[in-house]
């Protein structure tokens, strides 16, 4: 069962996935493809409803870097769990382009990957699981020590060592 978890809670998805549609719905919160966004952005930004864009794994987020203020959601697709490009895209969107909205992982997302996704800046994931919340909580609580910076607020081991020395 597909479940959306946002900021640690199971939520109903208010967005309609339009990425495979030929004609966009007239109203409602929509997630569109990059092509749809590029073709229709002038109309889309004038509507009152929130809008999101979904990037395929070969689509570098640079192509929407100027549009971030108009977007409520950016969904990054994992065509297979082995395709790790979106981890880099997530960091670029957060740390370089300054996106502060919902960053969503979609596609083939394994529960065991959620921890890494959280660390690079995703704050929502769509997972296919009957125990989505339990999977999510397990995956995000397994580690309490991190070695490298990844744009999240966690203190790295090196920083904790420094604190320990001073305290």
């Amino acid at each position: 069962m597909m479940t959306l978890i946002k900021n640690g809670n199971v939520v109903e998805d208010p967005f309609i996935d339009c990425t495979e549609m030929h004609i966009l719905p007239k109203s409602g919160a929509l997630i569109v493809s990059v092509a749809q966004w590029q073709d229709h952005w002038e109309k889309l930004v004038r509507r009152p409803d929130p809008i999101g864009v979904q990037l395929k794994s070969h689509e570098h987020p640079e192509i929407i870097a100027d549009d971030l203020e108009s977007l409520t959601v950016i969904a990054l697709e994992f065509p297979t769990f082995k395709d790790g490009r979106a981890y880099s895209y997530a960091r670029l969107l957060r740390e370089r382009y300054g996106f502060t909205g919902e960053l969503r992982a979609v596609g083939e997302v394994l529960p065991d990957q959620i921890h890494f996704m959280e660390r690079v800046g995703f704050n929502s994931v769509e997972i296919d699981s009957d125990n989505a919340l339990a999977d999510f909580e397990r995956a995000t609580k397994e580690f309490t020590v991190w070695y490298q910076p990844s744009g999240d607020a966690r203190q790295r081991a090196a920083e904790l060592r420094r604190g320990q020395k001073q305290g």
Binding site: H60, F81, K82, D83, G84, R85, Y87, S88, Y89, R91, R96, L110, D112, Q113, H115, F116, M117, R119, V120, R138, E142, F143, T144, V145, W146, Y147, Q148, P149, S150, R156, A157, A158, L160, R161, R162
Partner: protein
């Protein structure tokens, strides 16, 4: 040696607990084999021909006697009483049960060892000069940088699903004993005219099906920036590396496709954004790690040249061993001793649990409780007193670890081959054993001198055949095993790929062919030229004629 502090230890325990749950989910059928595979691989667990294989990291090749005893214990209780040292300075156990793996990982954690990322499409164990910290030609001990890179890469959330595996090697010496030019990233320390240290960064080297000597992407980078520069390379690779074909997915393919200039532009542009961020190496963290690698307190001892010379005169076996297996130490009165895992007829890199315990005892008695694993699948004691050399030699002889062949023709690198590996086309181990037995005579070994032979059981090149002075590649021709020879490969500071000598030979003919090559070299060599020097001077033709004869070289079948 680096020691885990509470944070390192905590991370390892959490990783073991995570893997224990993952194994349980697999055993309960909650995870399919497809979903479990990447999880087990990133914990070093492969499914091979007959059983699971577990690869344990030996960080930059450094082991303590205590750790080696634990490895012996694991070999005894969970495997068939032996382990196998690999070309990445690691150790593998070949007969592991899935149900036992979490317990093994927990036991390894108790001696500050782990299997994290010893496989998978992620940054693998970082390799280094096996003489790090002891080599007289060294600019700086590279292990402090290896440890920083290790911590940077372990469970790195951005780079755990790269297009393909990613290997680093680091050397702090101008004489490259770490093969940095055939790694995805090779780091080589240099000194400039002012006496400052900097890294040369080499990228896109590698072996496998498409062997490539790495290209220098940057001649010089201040050490404080090396991690951010590495991150820039990894990010460019993660985003642009090919993912449609696993044989085209290594960074070398990307570098070749873009050209080094374009690749450098992308990396430099990325680096400009991050160079002064959190990855800048702090002096504090550097000093903390550096303290672990401080040289031990050496005793003030004299060099024992005369005493050793008289012992060598009366005992030719000791003399041969001193010549090939003992190297100069930078501290007077000490020596560096290589333990050969290549005695004639032995399986290269294999060691029984009993021998491991014996080596651990000797390390405690004669080398301050530490040892190193080399990428040529031997071990090294780096702090041996010269006064102990003769006793140590006698005791190593009892353990069958004193074959006087380090860097000689029978010091062969071999992959596990068809005896274990599901990828192999041919058996590598019996070929290595044949050659070892063929060149068993000590005088012959010394006469031939420095010559490396590397054997791979298939084109994936785990036995590094491309960079062996003589490379041997197992191929399958119509269901039969043949062996192709290459000459002139090298992985040192003047790295080169071997040239193909001619058609493949059946296994039985390989030792004779090697002998013909060796004889041709002895015929042609001038002064004290090594095999590689002679080969580079005279080219492949004389060797071709030696092996295939002048006339019928085109009529060979395979």
């Amino acid at each position: 040696m680096y020691r885990y502090d509470e944070f390192d230890q905590q991370l390892i325990s959490e990783r073991v607990a995570q893997f224990r749950r993952q194994v349980q989910r697999r055993l309960d059928g909650e995870l399919t084999e497809d979903q479990f595979k990447p999880l087990r691989l990133m914990n070093g667990l492969y499914l091979q021909l007959h059983a699971y294989m577990l690869r344990v990291n030996v960080p930059y090749g450094c082991l303590s006697a205590k750790q080696l005893r634990k490895l012996a214990d694991i070999a005894r209780r969970y495997d068939k009483d032996f382990g196998h040292f690999t070309t990445r300075q690691n150790i593998q156990f070949n007969w592991i049960k899935l149900e036992d793996t979490a317990d093994i990982l927990a036991e390894l954690g108790e001696v500050e060892m782990n299997t994290i990322q010893s496989s998978g499409n992620c940054v693998r164990n970082i390799t280094a000069d096996p003489l790090a910290g002891r080599a007289a030609d060294e600019i700086q001990d590279p292990r402090v940088w290896c440890e920083l890179l290790r911590q940077y890469s372990i469970l790195n959330p951005e780079f755990s699903y790269l297009p393909r595996k990613f290997k680093f090697a680091v050397t702090g010496s101008p004489n490259d004993r770490a093969a940095v030019a055939v790694h995805d990233i090779g780091l080589r320390l240099h000194l400039n005219a002012r006496g400052d240290r900097g890294f040369e960064v080499i990228v896109g080297g590698g072996q496998g099906r498409t062997p490539v000597i790495g290209k220098t992407i940057r001649e010089w980078i201040e050490p404080e920036h090396v991690i951010s520069y590495v991150e820039a390379i990894l990010r460019v690779y993660n985003i642009y590396g090919r993912r449609d074909n696993i044989y085209k997915a290594r960074i070398k393919i990307l570098v070749n496709a873009l050209g080094i200039e374009r690749f450098r532009e992308l990396v430099d542009a990325e680096w400009e954004n991050i160079r002064d961020g959190q990855l800048k190496v702090s002096n504090e963290e550097l000093a903390r790690i550096d303290a672990y690698f401080k040289p031990p307190a050496y005793e003030s001892l004299p060099d024992l040249d005369d005493e050793l010379a008289s012992l060598r005169r009366v005992d030719p076996d000791f003399d041969a061993w001193m010549t090939s297996n003992v190297a100069a130490h930078k501290v007077p009165g000490y020596a560096i001793v290589s333990l050969s895992l290549k005695a004639p007829g032995r399986v290269p890199g294999d060691m029984t649990a009993t021998t491991m315990d014996g080596v651990a005892d000797l390390a405690d008695a004669y080398s301050l409780g530490e040892l190193r694993v080399t990428h040529r699948q031997n071990l090294v004691f780096v702090d041996v007193k010269q006064e102990d050399l003769h006793t140590l030699w006698e005791q190593l002889t009892e353990l069958d670890l004193a074959a006087a062949n380090i860097g000689r023709v029978s010091d062969i690198i071999a992959c596990p081959g068809l005896d274990y590996c599901s990828l192999a086309n041919a058996r590598s181990i019996p070929v290595a054993q044949d050659i070892g037995r063929h060149f068993a005579a000590a005088e012959k070994l010394q006469e031939v001198g420095e010559l490396t032979i590397n054997i791979s059981g298939c084109m994936n090149a785990c036995g590094h055949h491309h960079v062996g002075n003589i490379g041997i590649l197992g191929v399958d021709k119509r269901g039969k095993e043949f062996f192709q020879l290459t000459l002139g490969g090298s992985s040192d500071q003047n790295a080169s790929l071997g040239d193909r000598l001619g058609p493949g030979l059946p296994q039985a003919e390989v030792p004779q062919a090697i002998e013909k090559i060796v004889d041709a070299y002895i015929n042609k060599r001038q002064d004290d030229e090594r095999f590689l020097d002679t080969y580079r001077r005279v080219g492949i033709e004389p060797f071709k004629q030696a092996v295939y004869g002048p006339v019928n070289s085109k009529k060979q079948v395979a």
